[in-house]
Every structure is written in C-alpha cells, then in structure tokens.
C-alpha cells in the first residue's frame, strides 16, 4: 500500500497559517481515532514549523478526504497553495528528510526527531500505526541517528542561535550586562539563551508554567527560575525575551507590554518568539523601542548561513538515499515472490542442518537407503507444511502486487532485513551484504 504525506510547512505557509493549523494533542488524538476506523494507518506530525499527515490506506482518497474534512471543520478553509502532497516513495523520502532535520527551518536541529518520534508513539498508542508506518518510521529514525552521528549537520542550529545574537547585538551593541528572560523551555530556546550568554548576557531568568522544569533548566544554564505569574514584573528587568511556550494565545500583546515600557525607562527590548502558535502578538513590534521577531523573521537572517551548511547537508542527503535504498530493498523482500523464495530457502536450510545433525548422531549404522528415506521425509514435511502458505502467497501477490500477506509472512518467519530487528537471521544478513 502506498504512503501519502499531506502537509504544510514553513516552506509553503507563512507563520499565520501554520499557527492556525497547529493541532493541539487532543485534536490529533480525535483525528487519529477517526482515521483508525477509516480504515487507515495514520500519523500526525505537528510542530512549530509543520503540520503533516502521513497516511497508509487501501482507500487513500477516502482517508485523505477525512483529514481535509477534519481540518476544515476545525479551522475553516486553508488556501491549497500552502499544501503539499507526496505519494509513495516521494512521501517516504520526505518522512526521512523531516526526521533527519533536513527539511527543518533550522537544518540539523535535533528537536524534530523527538517530535516525529512522539507523533509516531501517539499513533502507535491509539492503534493508528500499522506495519507499513511502523517500518517506515523506524527506518527513518535509524537514518536520522546515522545522519546525526555521521555528519556535522547537528552543528547547524547554531546558525539560528547566532542569528538571534546578531539581531540582539544590532540593537544593544554589546550584550555584556544584559538580562535574558526565557519564557517556556525548548531546545532552540535553550540553545539561543546559551549563545546570548556566551555573547556576554549576564543574567538569565527562566519563567515556566511548571516551576520544576524551570528550576531543572536553571541549574543547567546557571540561571534563576521564577514563577510564571511574575512575568509582568520580570519583563521590566529584562532586555531580551526568548519565548517558546505552548500557549495557544499570545502571552505578550500591546496591552501587556506597553504599560511596562515606562517602568523600563524606555530601554530597548528585544523579543524573540520561537513558539508556534506565536507567544508574541505581531503588533508588539510596533511599540517604540520594542523589537519583536518570530521564526520567519529569524529565518531571513539565517538564510545567509545556509550555504555554509551545504556540504554537510549533501552528505546527509546521500546517507538518506542509502537508507531509503535499504528500506526499499527490505520492502521488496517482504513483497510477494521474493518472500516465497526466502521462505523456501530458509526451510530448506533448517531441514538440511537438522538432517546433518541427526544423521551424524546416528553414525555409520544406517544404510544408504535408510539415509535417503530420512532425507526425503524431512523435505516432504517441509513441502507439505509450506504448500498452503506458498499457494496463498502467490495468489495474494498476483492480486495486489504489493501484498500484505507477504509482509506478514516475512515478519512471521523473520525473513526481512529491517533496521528495527536487532538480530537478523544470519543467512539473510549475508544476503544483504552480498548485494
């Protein structure tokens, strides 16, 4: 069955559209439950920069229609210009690239892998992830692990943090003695704060809805944790605000920010919004001396650094191509006839090994005739046992082309070489290497 990816990301849709579509967890669950009954395998990846639906179904158009319907019901119509759709192997490549952080706004940021994993786990928990999605995801995760360890792409998010530093320095000149207020926690926010602090920012205050999380992070960053309710007071002392909460409505609006400007003695305020939906309302930027930037704005600064990452990204792409090839190979093993051949070979191999053991333990006492009849018995058992599965598999692969039954058989007999199986049967592992 074919994989379909339907989605929008920072590459196709502006932040205004993305934040409207960012589905809260409970909506995702509802949608996934609905799709389970469609019936379809489904996964929803919803992050700051993308909302994507991965679907596998016998009746794909219907599954897709369910998703589109659901979106329209939740947020009204979205211009089709913002959507993209990938089918089959293109969808697979897309999934791999997303998991490997090659499709991220900040290429190489590590958070996306965790987010895709979470999306997959949610789908699994709800029973929406079947064999196809599970295999595709675990292969993508393996690829992501390799990309992270074998290329230098993980160093790239630095460019986003340094873009933030560049902006801050354009406002303040030097950052020494400047105070950072970190609202909410997140990987990129943390990285940005680290960069600001190494650029000279002295005091870091963390305000998080859960104080414990803030305290844990504070001990890492050498910061002070404050209760979330103190935000208006904290804003007075801050020079820079890095916000990345999951709040569905903006925390900072003209109404909340403009009263503190006077108490701040009109010191410039640099605000960076890493959250989607946004934490900082766009009109805050209109306030005198307040410079508010969201992810799209930062990207404009980051774009210049893209070329630097080119080489590492190329390496990662090559690696992904390799992993995709591996996956496709494993899939073709699962599908149809090759499974039969493998099944036969495996059974044959087992029978011969057992025969040898038995015959050698019986020793020289057997006549040639007895020897042959034992041999033929073993092979007859195999043939009889495999007759029905063989016939069914042939039938199924002729009917569907890509057979679910074959996949099941491959899994049942441990015939496939998937990256998730930690200990592939030796015969198959050798096969893989020979190719």
């Amino acid at each position: 069955m074919e994989l379909l990816c339907l989605g929008l990301s920072h590459k196709t849709a502006p932040i205004g559209v993305r934040e409207r579509l960012a589905l809260p967890a409970e909506h995702q669950e509802q949608l996934l439950r609905k799709l389970c009954t469609a019936p379809a395998e489904a996964m929803v990846v919803s992050t700051c920069n993308r909302v994507e639906f991965y679907l596998v179904a016998a009746d794909l158009p219907r599954a897709k229609a369910t998703v589109v319907e659901e979106i329209h019901a939740r947020i009204g119509s979205v211009s089709t210009d913002h959507w993209y759709e990938h089918h089959g192997d293109a969808a697979l490549v897309h999934l791999f690239r997303v998991a490997c952080s090659l499709d991220s706004m900040v290429i190489g940021e590590a958070q996306i892998l965790g987010q895709v994993k979470e999306a997959f786990e949610l789908a699994q928990r709800l029973g929406a992830a079947g064999g196809e999605l599970t295999r595709a995801c675990s292969a993508a995760f393996t690829a992501a692990k390799r990309v992270r360890s074998e290329t230098g792409i993980g160093r790239a998010p630095v460019s986003m943090a340094s873009a933030a530093v560049e902006l801050a320095e354009k406002i303040f000149g030097g950052l020494s003695g400047k105070r950072v207020l970190m609202v909410g926690a997140g990987e990129i926010a943390e990285l940005t704060v680290k960069h600001l602090s190494s650029a000279g920012a002295t005091e870091i205050v963390i305000a998080n809805r859960t104080l414990q999380r803030a305290q844990a992070l504070a001990s890492i960053l050498g910061a002070v944790a404050r209760p979330f309710e103190e935000l208006p007071v904290l804003l007075i002392a801050a020079d820079m605000v890095i916000s990345s909460t999951a709040s569905p409505t903006p925390l900072f609006t003209q109404e909340t920010v403009s009263p503190v400007l006077k108490s701040r003695r009109f010191r410039p305020l640099f605000m960076l919004d890493i959250a989607v939906p946004r934490d900082i309302a766009p009109d805050v930027n209109q306030l005198d001396g307040v410079y508010a930037y969201d992810l799209d704005d930062i990207q404009k600064v980051v774009v210049e650094n893209t070329a630097v990452r080119g080489a590492e990204a190329e390496k990662a792409e090559a690696l992904i191509a390799e992993e995709i090839a591996k996956f496709v190979r494993a899939r073709s093993v699962r599908d149809g006839v090759p499974v039969l051949a493998l099944l036969r070979a495996r059974a044959d191999q087992i029978a011969r090994a057992e025969l040898e053991k038995t015959l050698s333990s019986l020793g020289e006492g057997l006549s040639e005739k007895q020897r042959r009849s034992i041999e033929s018995m073993a092979l007859a058992i195999i043939n009889k046992l495999l007759h029905q599965p063989t016939a069914k598999l042939r039938e199924a692969s002729l009917e569907e082309g890509v057979s679910r039954l074959a996949g099941a058989a491959a899994e049942l007999f441990g015939l496939e070489e998937t990256p998730s199986s930690p200990d592939p049967p030796p015969a198959i592992a050798q096969r893989g290497r020979q190719r």
Partner: protein, 263 residues
C-alpha cells in the same frame, strides 16, 4: 592662496566621501584608510586656509569653518570608534556645506562696532556647537534608518553596515551633550556681545528666538534622557528638530549674499 588650499581640501574631502561610500558597498579594508588620510590632509590645508582668513566673515566663510569642524569631528569619531560608515553618511554633507565657501571670496568685513576681543571665541564655539549637532543629526538619521530596517525586518545592506542602535543612541547622547554645552556658552557670550553693542542683553529677533527655542528643546531632551530614560527614536527625531531650529538661527545670522545666489 587660501582659496587654492581650500579648493584642494574640498577635492580631497569629496574623494574621501567617495571612498567611504564605496566602503559601504565593497568592504575593502583599504577604503576607510584612504578616506581617513584624505580627510586628515584636507583638514590640515583647510586649517591653514582658515587661519589665513582670520575671523569668519559672511556666510561663505562661516560655512567653510562649519565644514572644517564637521569633518574634524567626523575624523575624530572615525579614529576613535573605527566606524567608517559614519563618514559615508556625513562626509558628503560636509562637502556640500563647503560649496558656498568655495564659490565666494571672503565677504563683507565685520563692522568695527562688533569687533571685540572675544568675538572669535564666540563664533568658533557657536560653529563647534552647530557642527556637533549636525553630526548628532546625521547619527539620528542613521538611527532612524536602522530602526526602520529592524522594525520592518528587512535585513539589507544598511542592517549589516550600520553600527548598533545602542551605539548610535549613545553617540547621539554624547554629541548632544557637547553641542548643548557649546550652545549654552554661545548664548551667554552672545548676550555679552549684545549688551556691549546694543546696550541690552537680549533682542527678540528671529535668530535669538530660534536659538533660544533650540536651547530649550535640547535642555528638555537631555532632562528627559537623564530623568525619564528617554532614548531611541523620539530622541533622534527631537535632535533633528532642534538642529533645524539651529539652521534657521545660523542662516538668519547672515544676510543672504547675492553673489552666491542662494534663495
């Protein structure tokens, strides 16, 4: 002789302005060095020419002295902060200020009645204050341009070339403080001369009124800066407004000379 020197200085400034402007586009390290050398040597020649002329008489010489002081401040700032971009913005303006000084020779001699021992001091300080405010205004314009880019999220060439908003604001503060001190001294010495010539300390004429309003504006600006923490955009705009008032005062000082044809 002094006119020839002035002419050479003028051309050096113009070339320096081009070097600074070129540096905006192409960041060759040699360009600001060329700019600084040209401005520096131009200033030396210009100083000799000014010394030969004596006390500035007439608008042309006043403008010439003003251009000298402007470029002097610019060079000092560039050498102190290594910010050639300031030169790119203000050298062309200084060159433009110098044009009337090149086109005219001397001017009507000052009447004997106003020739007082401290008159050169009064005029020099007045011009120095004006030059400081002119640079402050240039810096304010740079501030507003960068502010617009930062707010509009257009990270173009100006964004990468201009110094930080914080730096520009701080530079504006310093220049306005020094300009304000000079302006205050100018007002006091001016009142002293007025009393000597006209018998009264203060005459309600356009020049005096404009100067006084400008002084009050800058006094208010500095007070708001110190006590209310004003900074940034509104300070930049007020600096520009104050400078415009001073220009009114400056030009109303001199009868518009027919030989320059300014109208």
């Amino acid at each position: 002789m002094s006119h020839a020197l002035l002419s050479i200085a003028f051309h050096e400034y113009a070339l320096a302005g081009l070097a600074y402007l070129a540096y905006l586009v192409r960041q060759w390290k040699l360009l600001p060095l060329i700019g600084r050398a040209l401005v520096g040597s131009g200033l030396v020649l210009h100083a000799i020419a000014l010394a030969a002329q004596g006390v500035p008489q007439g608008m042309a010489q006043g403008l010439s002295a003003l251009a000298f002081l402007l470029l002097f401040i610019l060079l000092a700032l560039d050498l102190r902060y290594r910010m050639p971009v300031i030169g790119a913005f203000l050298t062309p303006i200084a060159v433009a200020v110098l044009v009337p000084g090149l086109l005219t020779h001397g001017g009507p001699a000052l009447p004997n009645s106003v020739r007082r021992p401290l008159l050169p001091l009064h005029i020099s300080i007045a011009l120095l204050g004006l030059a400081a405010f002119a640079v402050a205004t240039g810096v304010a314009v740079m501030y507003l341009l960068l502010d617009r880019q930062m707010k509009g999220k257009r990270f173009g060439m100006l964004f990468s070339r201009l110094p930080s908003l914080g730096f520009l604001d701080e530079l504006n503060r310093r220049l306005v403080v020094w300009g304000f001190i000079a302006l205050s001294v100018t007002l006091i010495t001016g009142a002293y001369f007025a009393s000597g010539i006209q018998g009264v300390y203060w005459v309600w004429q356009s020049k005096e009124i404009a100067t006084l309003v400008a002084w009050a504006l800058f006094a208010g600006l500095l007070t708001a800066r110190v006590f209310a923490g004003w900074q940034g955009r509104r300070v930049a705009m007020l600096t520009m407004a104050g400078f415009c008032l001073l220009l009114v005062s400056f030009f109303s000082h001199y009868p518009i000379p027919y030989d320059v044809g300014l109208r």
